[in-house]
Subunit: 567 residues, 2 copies
């Protein structure tokens, strides 16, 4: 069950289904995408060239309605970082993959002609179909067309115009339980890899399919019930996330002096009260209409940290509005206008670019004086330029490192080419350690430490906290679970129990953690073969030399300490 | 003699003269700039940040009128490559440094305020003077103003607007025997480093100075006479270079299928006859006026490979018009219009950008379809955009790698971030080996093999040919000589003899070669500490996978063979 690998070649337009070999038996999600990349892609290859592969994987419980178990992982050598990349998202695509029995889709080679395709996967077939009619259309329109053609129930994985243009901030979206294609594997420029392959989208039609029955149906139901009870008994997962979503984080980071403000110049934003979790909740509930503060992006999700943000007339603007976006398009630009943030978020989603990378890039452009910090009209105009594909727009959509290069800015908040998420690393040093040492580049989802129970602005214990977080995330990612379960997960053993009951395996938690650690080492080894060294496991210079005024601290985790990051 | 180091700090505006310590006694030119960088600059530092230093050095015979002995070396950590950089040029600045007794100028720290400076060096003083009046002015105008202020006889080292904007293709120019500031240390973005330091220029006033007398005056005169005779007795240095300049190379490379054409798609250009050495000579001589095919850029140069190119009315357009520029703004763009090339060359010189990097970047933009190959009007317009600092202009002036990233192009002719010079590496594989393995990035001046006596399109002997060329260039660069002496240099021993007679030393050629080899290893070690690995010693993927149609060859020097590059 869930044992098919679909291999598609964009050059000869072939599609082939193979059974998963024993080597990969226990691997899924990020562990499978990274392992396949390691095994099949030359580490030094050109990311937009024919040797790179784009890999879609689901988790080990994909296709079931177990809460939080249907993350879609996408992997490739990243054109943004030059290293290995996995970026995962909620939505329904992985659920559909599970019901289709496909654990991995491997897309090979590229096209340089004028032909563009979609990959249509249904119960018995997988074919590439010409799709010129979708070219240069926003994600919303692409999805509408495909719903008309293939019905409303399909799963969709899509790139926007940004991916087609191979812009380095381009992400890959899939659709959610409401059919909105805004669940982003946003990081690392994976949309550009898909664009280089001339693959505009994947349609997952699971008509006639169902999730394979569990190996031990009764046992599975029972253990999943226990898992759900666990999630519903923790305050974070039962109350806070459903109400405030990920935006609940903003009060925490702002209080820690760790909310990136004005291109990461400082970590405290006095306008946070207008855009934090509470403000978001109040705004959504007061406006009513299509908005809702509580929304499940994946089938069966009990945490429902997603939301639908509506404008003053009650019409949906964007779904979801999340912490990273609120922060990087908000405080990082000195903006406290929640409607501007939502509008720009919508444009990012429809054009197909990562809001984190765009937020970092606009912050850098502000530091360069292209526009002023706090100028919401200028941000709106700049985002229009991104969507209209002006050269300034192209620069921004190439990410913050390229933006810094073109504009001559030395304070660029990035590691390994990728912009930082919304945790200021001098204030929240454990997440800074993750930024520095993760093979993924600056990425909170690689191991966020902001909720850990330690003092965040001192250097003690940060390396071990980051290590634990990175291993934990690698575990969650390897199983296809959502990171939002973590606060409610009193014991990780239950993860092994669910997997075993479903698949009839006898894995211990230690086995799974071993897979998680091995994967972290394998990702590092890929990067080493791609040319990364310990020198790349550092933050940008200015975080060591200039204090975050909100905490009066610099990033002072030594190179030697960072080198102790062993999995 | 020639034993002063001038150390300038742009933050506290201090300038201090120290005696050269014994450690550096025998080092000059590139060997000195690289050694100082190695000793004083953290390899992982941000190139545009306060820890990088910009270092100007002259050769061991600087200040004398010995032919070809007055190259100016400029070194820094490169913002273009992220590695160590030295780029040298002719002109009169190093001659003035020699007469002032200064072997190295080290510029430290940066400024981020609105204050900009020039460094004024005269017999007894060195001071930083405010120079806001020079801001944003082209190099020609900057030079005119400074000649008015300090007299016509000064040496000048200047950046243009490109350097002020910290654009990655920005070079540093010095003035020639005619006072024209167009002798470029063009490569590696050194102009951006100078711009980050807010140093607009250096004025070298040698009033009251003279070259120190040789330790053995008679012996020195005699050996220099012999050296000059040697240069005047070789056909290359006595006849071909004075007549055709470096453009003599075009017939050679085109016949080898190694003339980069259409973004390095092929190596043969059928319009080469309109822009090669002969065409250049004919055009210049027919037009007369201010033009001349034979011109010395450095005091005392006998080879005189420089030229002055005049327009149809006989007015000077640019000096010099050289092979690399003719090729990368010509065949590489499918252009055979020598006047367009000269005009664009002038704009590059005045704005302060490297013609090689700009030629590569425009080639990449053509591959992206921004403009068409062969469209001379579009090239002129694009160059105007560079000078007018539009966003497209900024992209181009950020070099070919950034251009490729922003425009989604995978075929970018660069190594370690730097665009290739005008030797197609599948046809002239030895120079390809140099591109791949040099610490400097793709750079013909690091060790060009195009004139070596071997078959260039096969893989045999290329690694050893490149090694010899790299050691030879390191030697010439360490002494402050011009690479153009090489074809006339029947024996290298004479270099040691001149140095010894001048300084009273007893160095053997082997000692000098040891310095040259040590320097190559030291440059590599700097890069290793900056994060470079053997993976970075490769050409871009497509040169291995796609044939050069003019030779039907790919670049097939294996990684293992490249790793045999030991100095």
């Amino acid at each position: 069950m869930l044992d098919t690998i679909l291999r598609v070649n964009m050059n000869n337009l072939s599609a082939r289904q193979d059974k998963l070999t024993d080597t990969y038996q226990y691997l899924a999600g990020r562990a499978l995408s990274s392992r396949l990349l390691f095994d099949e892609v030359p580490a030094h290859c050109e990311p937009l060239g024919p040797k790179n592969k784009l890999i879609f994987t689901c988790g080990l419980l994909a296709g079931t309605t177990t809460s939080c178990a249907n993350r879609l992982s996408i992997g490739a050598k990243s054109p943004l970082t030059g290293g290995i990349k996995e970026s995962n998202a909620g939505g329904i695509a992985a659920y559909k993959m599970g019901r289709l029995g496909i654990r991995a889709i491997i897309v090979e080679d590229i096209r340089e002609d004028e032909a563009w395709y979609i990959l249509l996967i249904s119960k018995d077939t997988a074919i590439l179909k010409p799709a010129e009619h979708l070219r240069n259309k926003g994600l919303m329109e692409k999805a509408s067309i495909l719903y008309r053609e293939y019905g409303e129930k399909i799963g969709l994985i899509l790139i926007g115009p940004a991916g087609e243009k191979r812009l380095l901030a381009a992400g890959v979206a899939n659709n959610d339980t409401n059919g909105v294609p805004s669940r982003y594997s946003g990081r690392g420029g994976l949309g550009a890899v898909m664009g280089a392959k001339h693959l505009l989208g994947i349609v997952l039609d699971d008509t006639g399919c169902s999730a394979p029955a569990a190996h031990d149906p009764q046992g599975y139901v029972q253990i999943v019930r226990e898992f759900h009870k666990m999630l519903l008994s923790a305050p974070q997962t039962a109350e806070i996330f459903p109400k405030y979503g990920t935006a609940a984080m903003m009060e925490i980071t702002n209080n820690l002096g760790g909310l990136p403000t004005r291109n990461f110049q400082t970590g405290y934003f006095d306008g946070a009260g207008k855009i934090n979790g509470d403000a978001l909740y109040q705004t959504i509930t007061e406006r009513g209409g299509e908005g809702t503060p509580t929304h499940a992006c994946m089938p069966g999700c009990l945490i429902r940290c997603s939301n639908i943000f509506a404008d003053k007339t009650g019409r949906r603007v964007v779904t979801p509005l999340e912490y990273e976006t609120l922060s990087l398009l908000g405080p990082n630009l000195q903006v406290d206008d929640i409607d501007m943030i939502a509008d720009v978020n919508y444009l990012c989603n429809d054009y197909g670019v990562d809001t984190i990378e765009i937020g970092c890039a606009i912050g850098v452009a502000m530091e360069a004086g292209v526009l002023q910090f706090g100028d919401t009209d200028a941000v709106r105009d700049l985002m229009r330029q991104v969507v209209e594909d002006t050269y300034l727009g192209k620069i921004i959509a190439s990410g913050c490192v390229v933006t810094g290069k073109v504009l001559g800015v030395r304070r660029v908040p990035a590691v390994k080419g990728q912009g930082m998420a919304a945790y200021e690393p001098r204030a929240i040093k454990g997440t800074g350690v993750t930024y520095a040492t993760s093979a993924m580049g600056a990425d909170h989802t690689a191991g966020n430490v902001a909720r850990a129970n330690l003092r965040h602005d001192v250097k003690d214990h940060q390396v071990s906290a980051s290590r634990n977080a990175q291993i934990g995330m690698s575990l969650v990612d390897a199983l296809g679970f959502c990171m939002m379960i973590s606060p409610g997960l009193k014991s990780r053993d239950i993860l092994a129990e669910m997997i075993n009951a479903y698949h009839g395996w006898k894995l211990t938690l230690q086995d799974l953690e071993q897979i998680a650690r091995q994967n972290l080492n394998l990702e590092r080894e890929f990067n080493a073969k791609a040319g990364f060294t310990k020198i790349h496991d550092r933050l940008p210079e200015h975080f060591y030399d200039e204090v975050n005024p909100a905490t009066n601290s610099v990033f002072d985790i030594s190179e030697t300490d960072l080198e102790e990051m062993l999995f």
